[in-house]
Symmetry: C2
Subunit: 252 residues, 2 copies
Amino acid sequence: MINNHTPHNRTIEVCLSPALIDLFDIEHSIVVVIDILRATSSICVGFENGADHIIPVSTTEESLAYREKGYLVGAERNGEMLDGFDLGNSPFGYMGPHIKGAKIALTTTNGTRAINAAKTANTVVVGSFLNLNALCAWLKEQDNNVVCLASGWKNAFNLEDTLFAGAVVDKLIEEFSYSSNCDSAIASQHLYRLAKDDMYGFLENSSHRKRLERLHIESDIEFCLTPNQTTAIPILKGDCLYNLKVLEKANL
Amino acid sequence: MINNHTPHNRTIEVCLSPALIDLFDIEHSIVVVIDILRATSSICVGFENGADHIIPVSTTEESLAYREKGYLVGAERNGEMLDGFDLGNSPFGYMGPHIKGAKIALTTTNGTRAINAAKTANTVVVGSFLNLNALCAWLKEQDNNVVCLASGWKNAFNLEDTLFAGAVVDKLIEEFSYSSNCDSAIASQHLYRLAKDDMYGFLENSSHRKRLERLHIESDIEFCLTPNQTTAIPILKGDCLYNLKVLEKANL
C-alpha cells in the first residue's frame, strides 16, 4: 500500500495557555489538549476502563443536569471534588465497574474548558503521560499539523502541562520527522529533557504541586506522571469525547 | 541607616506574553519589560549614549508626528527600519553623537507595545542583557515585587525574552532571596541555566533568529546577547522613558 502521508512537511507547535489559542491555525490542525493534573489523565483512565463517552461541560450546573439523563456527573473546582457529584478529578475515581459503559459529564477548573476552547480545530484529542506512546503513534499516521494546548491554571502557564507538550514534541521531531518553528515547542522540549528522568522531583517546586499538596493527593500525581498506562485516545466528536479505537471498530 | 526593606517577602514572576498581563498584579509591582531582539536593548544603548528621553509610541504615524517637535523618530516593523525614519531597531543606530541629548520617539513591532501594555504597573523599567547586573542591583533596593514581561513576537512566546527573564529570576532568587511561586519563572530559570554558557548557539533554532536571518543582523544579535555593557536603567514616567540615574541626580 502506498503511503500518501507527507511526513516531512508536518509541524508541531505548543500553545502555552488557552488565552493564546487564537495565535495558532487550529482549523487545519490536530489539537492535543493537555491537563496533566488531572483532567486529561482522568479522561484517559475513564476510557481505559470502558467509559462509553465523556461530555466536557463548562459549568457545574450543566454537569449536574446530565444526571437525570443517566449520566455519572463529575465536577472539580480548585482541585477538589464538589459535593453532590459522583466523580471528581482523581484518576482513581475513573477506575472500576461503575465506569464500564458509563456516560459521564465532567467539568473541571481548566481541562474541560481548554477542550471547549479548541472546538474549532480540525480534530481535538486528549493527551496525558498515560497515553503518550499511543497518542504519538496515532499522530504519526495523520496528515495534519499538531498543536499541543496546555490547559494551564486559569490561563496561567504551568509546568507539568508544558513537560508533556515537550514529550510529544521530542517524540514527533526526533522519531517521526516533524519540524517546528515555534519557540514554545523548543522550550517545552528542553524542559522535558531536563525533567524526564525524575519528573516528580522536577515538579517539586511547581505551583500546581504546591496547590495540590493540601489535598494529600501525592498518589494521584505519581500516577499521572507515569507514562504509557493506556492505549486509549479520547477524541472529540461534536460535544462528546469517545474512545477513538471503539469509534474506528464501529466504523463511525 | 536602618534598612526598612523586607527582602524575604518579595516575589518574582514572569509573564510570557503581553496577552497574559492581566493575570498578574502589576499595580503593586515593578514590571521589567523585555524585548531582547531588539527594542529594549536599543533603548538601553540610547541612554548609555546620552539620550534625554525616549517616548514609546504604538504607531508609525505617532512616531513621525514627533519630528516637527525636534525629535529623532524611530520605527521598526517585522524587523526592518521603515523608510523616512531616522532610526530603526538596531542598537548600533543608538550610538554616536546624534544620540547625546536627543529626544527620541520610537515604535517597534513588540517592545514599545509591551511597554504601553504595562502602563498601569507601579513602576515600569526596561531590561536587556546589556543592563542585567545594574537592573538587578537596583531591583534589590526596591520594596516591590517584580514581574518580568516578555514582549514576545506579536503576543507569541519567544525564547530570547524568556532567557533574559530567567537571568533576572536566577539572580533575584539565588543572590537576593526573592521567592517565586510562578511556574513560568521556574521554567525561565531552567532555560537560562541551560543556555547561559552559549546563548547564541542555544538560540540558533529560535523563531526570531530565523526571522532575522534574512536581515543579516548577526552582529546585532551577538551584541544584544552580551551582558553588562551599560549601567543605564530606563524608567517610565508618564509617557516617557528616562535614564533613572539622571532623574535621581536631578531629584525628580
